[in-house]
């Protein structure tokens, strides 16, 4: 079995790389694939917190690289989903502890046992980024509909294109706020895709549930009512090759739909 190694990157910090990794990983595992998540953000690890596995980590990526333990010992199994494993980063070291060749060989080993190897990339384009993309053959570029994030994503795509091993890269637009798009205060997803001229793999609406899910250590895909959770589940399906239509996030739902109706009755432009 040869699994797919996918790196999740963005260039800019705070756009949701780690959240995306945790949720796509969980969604893929829920769909029956075996998944391993690698946190390469050494020294600033967060992925374990988002998955609620912080208290289970004994050995880390750095321990594996420095041969203090075997690779399999360092894999932390998820609480709920036995298909999902985490290879955590060390908190007490920095990016220089692991180099590109070492991560590449770890990815190759994991590839044999897992369907998907998802690499959570640190922010920036330095050493940490170069290490993270070293083992990957595919990439997901996370961005938000903001000029700064889009500019950074453009730079990242340039770097990914320059790397031969990366066969394909897809764009994921995170934290889209339909209301702001409608009032022309935010770039639309179409604008972002046009600027970056890159295939789209998902649109994730802004969702306050993300905050609570992060604090609880419970990925939002486990919440079936959450719009962001649904969107991430769809992304996971698209990664597997299913043809899933994009959620129409512009369509108002619930109270918003009611408001639109009232407004139209009163003759106010929505």
């Amino acid at each position: 079995m040869t699994g797919r190694v996918i790196v999740i990157t963005s260039g800019k910090g705070g756009v949701g790389k780690t959240t995306t990794s945790a949720n796509i990983g969980t969604a893929l595992a829920k769909g029956g694939s075996s998944v391993v998540l690698i946190d390469t953000d050494i020294g600033l690890r967060n992925l374990d917190l988002l998955l609620g596995l912080e208290n289970r980590i004994v050995y880390t990526l750095v321990d594996v690289v420095e041969e203090r333990c075997k690779l399999k010992q360092a894999l932390v199994k998820d609480k709920k989903n036995p298909n999902l494993c985490l290879l955590a980063a060390a908190q007490t070291r920095d990016k220089s502890a692991v180099d590109a060749d070492q991560l590449k060989s770890i990815c190759e080993q994991l590839q044999e046992d897992f369907d998907f190897v998802l690499v959570d990339c640190p922010a920036g384009i330095e050493e940490g980024f170069k290490t993270a993309i070293s083992g990957a053959s595919e990439a997901i570029v996370v961005t938000t509909p903001e000029m700064s994030a889009v500019r950074d994503a453009d730079r990242i795509i340039g770097l990914l294109e320059a790397k031969e091993e990366i066969k394909s890269y897809k764009l994921l637009v995170n934290r889209v706020r339909p209301n702001l798009v409608k009032s022309n205060d935010m770039m639309s997803v179409d604008d972002v895709v046009e600027i970056l001229s890159c295939d789209l793999i998902g649109i994730i609406p802004e969702d306050t549930g993300i905050i609570t899910s992060t604090n609880r250590g419970e990925p939002i895909v486990n919440d079936e009512n959450s719009p962001a959770g649904k969107a991430y589940t769809n992304v996971a399906k698209r990664i597997k090759g299913e043809d899933v239509p994009f959620l129409d996030i512009n369509e108002p739902k619930g109270f918003d739909a009611f408001l639109v109706k009232v407004k139209s009755l009163l003759g106010i432009k929505a």
């Binding site: 208290n55 004994v58 494993c85 007490t92």
Partner: protein
């Protein structure tokens, strides 16, 4: 003026070196103690040279000097004398200095009676009139410290810093872990491995959930009142391993240990401050945290199962003693425990391969 430079600290009620270190560190927090000649009044307590040296270095860290030690114990007196520290009686010295300079301020005399340890600050006095102004500040400090339960059974020896790498002990634990049989089914292997590592989880969970989940209270295995003897806490008998810990050097840290920071020691570690989640403390001996312990603590990392971990608030992500591990139960989500004035000091120890936690006021 010569007299103004003096600062008397009465620790005659301190029973162990740990008490002395704790109390001194608290006293030294007072800005009044800086740039002074410190006179130390000790009771019948045996300190060796290195211990006195470390106290001295503690005092010199705030630009003061340790100029006099009054002590009932001969060993301490000898050690102090060899270090060139005056070992005269505080009262006599005070008298002689007063008479040689100014015959005033006799009101400071009544330090004869013994004062409980908690009230040590009341006895911290100087001969200058300006101290009385600072007294209200001292007494408020004092009130706070009384509210917090004091843990006095700690045994901490000295404050010499030794930063030798403890890498070999990590290899030891590794070898024990690699000895798990490797089956062809790796997933099962991972599971069993984790299970064996976190064997003691149940107990930890019961204990930590004690206040939050009443239904589990009956199952709490560690209180004597509950009558459940799941785990029998053995009688306290001092063994060679215990003495080994007592003989170890002690690293003394007065800081907040933040995420990513590692403290390693071949001896005991005392931390005055909080240990945030993400930090790691490895010690061959005991780990004592005078604050909230939130990170990973590994006591007895060279294999000494008599090592203990104690903290005012024990909320560690993982506790490791020798080669046993325990993790924090999943339902505890408050990673940063709210600061409050009421603490329940707890102590983790190793009992028959498990890590058990005792509230210190259970004894």
């Amino acid at each position: 003026m010569e007299l103004n430079k003096r600062f008397i600290v009465d620790l005659s009620q301190a029973k162990t070196p740990a008490d002395v270190v704790f109390e001194i560190s608290n006293v030294l927090e007072n800005p009044e103690a800086a740039n002074r000649k410190i006179w130390l009044k000790l009771g019948n307590i045996a300190l060796n040279q290195s211990q006195i040296l470390s106290i001295k270095s503690l005092i010199s860290s705030i630009n003061s000097t340790l100029s006099l030690i009054e002590c009932e114990c001969e060993q301490t007196e000898l050690a102090a004398a060899t270090l060139g520290i005056n070992t005269k009686d505080v009262e006599e010295e005070l008298q002689s200095e007063l008479s040689s300079l100014e015959p005033e301020s006799p009101k400071d005399e009544p330090s004869e009676q013994y004062i409980p340890l908690e009230d040590y600050k009341k006895d911290v006095k100087m001969d200058e009139p300006s101290i009385s102004e600072s007294d209200p500040a001292l007494s408020t400090d004092n009130d706070e410290s009384i509210e917090q339960p004091e843990e006095k059974e700690t045994f901490v020896e000295t404050v010499s810093s030794e930063n030798k790498e403890d890498t070999h002990k990590e290899e030891e634990t590794d070898s024990s872990m690699t000895s798990h049989t490797e089956s062809e089914d790796e997933k099962k292997e991972i599971q069993t491995e984790l299970d064996s590592i976190f064997d003691s989880e149940v107990k930890l969970e019961n204990i930590l959930s004690e206040e939050k989940d009443l239904s589990q209270m009956q199952n709490w295995p560690l209180t004597k009142e509950s009558g459940v003897d799941d785990i029998e806490i053995p009688e306290e008998v001092m063994t060679d391993e215990d003495y080994a810990i007592l003989q170890m050097n002690t690293q003394y840290h007065k800081q907040t240990v933040r995420s990513g920071q590692v403290i390693q020691s071949n001896g005991n570690v005392v931390i005055i401050g909080d240990c945030h989640p993400g930090c790691e403390i490895h010690a061959a001996g005991d780990i004592t945290v005078w604050g909230v312990l939130g990170g990973i603590a590994h006591a007895g990392c060279n294999g000494n199962t008599k090592a203990r971990i104690r903290a005012l608030t024990l909320n560690a992500i993982q506790l490791r003693i020798a080669e046993s591990y325990a993790r924090r139960p999943d339902h505890i989500k408050n990673i940063y425990v709210e600061k409050s004035n009421t603490f329940t000091p707890e102590e983790a120890r190793y009992v028959n391969g498990n890590i058990v936690i005792l509230k210190t006021n259970d004894k």
